[in-house]
Symmetry: D2
């Protein structure tokens, strides 16, 4: 059968990315405590395409992911390196987005339950053989408004917020470690399972530790800045405001100067 994709192309337009998106796939990841966690990912994979070739062979992306045993920087590097060869490309990329579950004890009763954080791994194998790996973790937390607390005679509005931390790492940093940084920066962590004594603790803890989205970003940035395993980071906090029908957010990244 004719290979239409390999036809010569004379339009002289190189393509930065050609690939697949929204591929749902079962994946396995190492946990900090040892052992593996099985979860479900949404995957995108692509390569570049020179100006004189008509198309890429899309099925080879699925073949490549089909051969991966677990998702980690080392195996992604290997897979993307092979992908460049299989598809005759100079750069290969993938992004892998998934729910990851962390089990933690309730703050007073200590009852354990899992809760989910969203993760997104972005990996690229470049022309010069360089491998880039970025990891974004989105952690649900609680924020309590310092202004509302200050100006009100009682109470203070609070809400669920999501802390997005993205890191470029020099050495292995666990998802669990990033989650801890996010939770410590907010007014309070949140939990799947809280008994009354726990609910009292979370309520009072948040009231004692009011945080604007600006504060959460700064508190996280200070800790990320000091971690020698992290080459670059960004922090975004999105707060599902309880007094508005829109969100408040703040963002910064390493090296931002103002």
């Amino acid at each position: 059968m004719k290979d239409v994709q390999r036809e010569k192309d004379t339009r002289n337009i190189p393509l930065k990315n050609v690939g697949i998106r929204n591929l749902k796939w079962p994946v396995k990841l190492m946990e900090k405590g040892g052992g593996y966690q099985q979860t479900v990912a949404t995957i995108a994979m692509s390569v570049d395409l020179p100006h004189d070739i008509r198309g890429t062979h899309m099925s080879r992306f699925v073949e490549a992911i089909n051969e991966m045993k677990s998702i980690n920087p080392k195996d992604l590097d290997k897979m993307l390196t092979e992908l460049r060869t299989r598809l005759d490309a100079s750069v290969s990329h993938c992004t892998i987005e998934f729910d990851y579950f962390i089990t933690k004890p309730a703050p007073v009763t200590g009852i354990e339950s899992p809760y989910n954080v969203k993760c997104c791994f972005e990996a690229e194998k470049g022309e010069n053989g360089e491998f880039k790996f970025l990891m974004e973790i989105r952690v649900p937390v609680s924020t309590l408004c310092p202004c509302s607390k200050e100006i009100s005679d009682f109470g203070a509005h609070n809400q669920r917020a999501i802390v997005h931390i993205k890191v470029d790492i020099k050495k292995l940093v666990w998802i669990e470690d990033i989650v801890k940084i996010a939770e410590d920066s907010a007014s309070s962590p949140i939990y799947s399972l809280l008994k009354r004594a726990d609910e009292k603790w979370v309520t009072e803890q948040a009231y004692l530790k009011p945080r604007f989205v600006e504060d959460v970003v700064r508190e996280a940035a200070i800790v990320l800045e000091e971690n020698s395993n992290i080459r670059w980071y960004s922090v975004m906090v999105d707060s599902i405001e309880s007094i508005h029908n829109h969100d408040a957010f703040a963002y910064t990244e390493k090296g931002c100067t103002l």
Copy 2:
């Protein structure tokens, strides 16, 4: 050209609904204060199909909606009546979902700003000529947890929640009236634009009026029950819990007995 849809079907399976979905369309609605509001709807339309006909003519749904000048019960009845004839069907339906904007003053400063509620109209023209019209309004509000307030030495967790009120009406009931019922049932209304004096009011108001999702449903049900223009109603409240990564909800409907 051959009319494939009109072929005889011998499989003997009648279809309850055949139609189109996810049609985005510009629509116009009357406002309570007079005048019209232009917004964007997502529309589904369908008819039934007898066991012996192969298919319906999908383009006629779009023709029918294309002729509507504004969205209201009377014109929907007329459109659905014609649709039954055009498509040789005994029952015709449509659902129309859209953002509707309401302008209200901030509670202390009185500064006006619009905010959106989600609406869903469901209309059906039945075999016997009966016209049914259901209207669902989803209103963002704030809820403050009575348990958290009671057991904590200070503060109380609160969050954005969505009140879904669905009504089957005998006489015209305005979207604005349903929104008022939803807001009055919650710990506090929410706003697009609040200055500090307003934020203080909303914070204190919510603290003084703690509401479980169960409470909000009951408060709304009491008012809906008393409205003689409402034949049937349901109320669902979904609360984006600020201490959990999941929601709490409660639901009831007219006639529920336990």
Copy 3:
């Protein structure tokens, strides 16, 4: 600490459902071929609430799901039965929605790859002790338009479509069996990984087997009707039309008469 939820309620409004929603949770399911599949679910759980009690104890839902080892009708019955007792309710419900992966060989080359179907289990333990279990499977397929094929000199528009089959079962029916029924009813199954010989097969197969959404519903209904393990079923097909920016759909259910 005071139990605010257990307060007497004098508003006299019973609630049909009180519970939690959008809880992400790791779950395990039996596969037809033996063994278990680990995936990620979105869970809702609720009970009813009598008119004279203020609220339910939300944390007990999470405790109940936390104790489940795997998701299947028998264990759901047991969990919902206990939930009624724990929460002093007469009816308990849950819905569990998840991606389930099925590995199948490409039609010509036989290369195996997994692909995802969406599943939703709905279970209810009723007042009289009756247990209801409904299973909905949403299967991506390809549909090719019979009208377009008939009236055009060459080609025919086709597209991805989703077949939603919901069943009330008397005896165990596997997810894999429902998927087979959905795929056989469409113009062609779809795959994660196709080589050129497979793509030729899928293209020609779809062209030889044109199907309106109405046809897919009827073909599936015929097979479901004959299955003695199925007490009731519904079929909905939603087609992401390639010539429109909206979808076409058809729906029927057991017992529909027109």
Copy 4:
């Protein structure tokens, strides 16, 4: 009342963006044919925040958008310029995402109907007073696979695809002009309302003009490259593959060299 946001901050972390997101708002836009179109937008707005100030005043974003009469580059420049002053910031941004409706005649019968394209405007007022304005239009089209057509004895798989064109403009370019470029690059435009003669035309047109996602990107890039009002562009095409449960995509941008 105390202005908590204006407190001195000693953490020494400047923030690149502080603002609001997911604000739904009614907006008005000029149409190419004259007159205005009313639609619904989702808006984000932000400013930067120096290292020594604790927070920004979020309500001023809503005040600023509340004063805009219509959405266009000139008025956005003015609004963002004022926002920098109101919030004492050096950079201000906004993104405005909305459905825009275009009415076009069916290809044979000429029957007119509206259909929606998604638009996203991104505007920034920079430190040096520079105003940047980017416009992204997402246009639904149909793509028919050249490989499937070549290797199959009859038929060819096709599907709905979305062409995303983003432009940085020197002079006014209408949404309608970008839509035309996207549609001309694909196998066929798509429509809300097609009668049988039109469906025959669209089917045959697509079969005569097969396009990979790579082809669509290149065809659009050629035209965008030649337009002297466009300073920079990117093109992304996402195809909802009818033979897979995932999408195929391709991307390029002005200046890409390979």
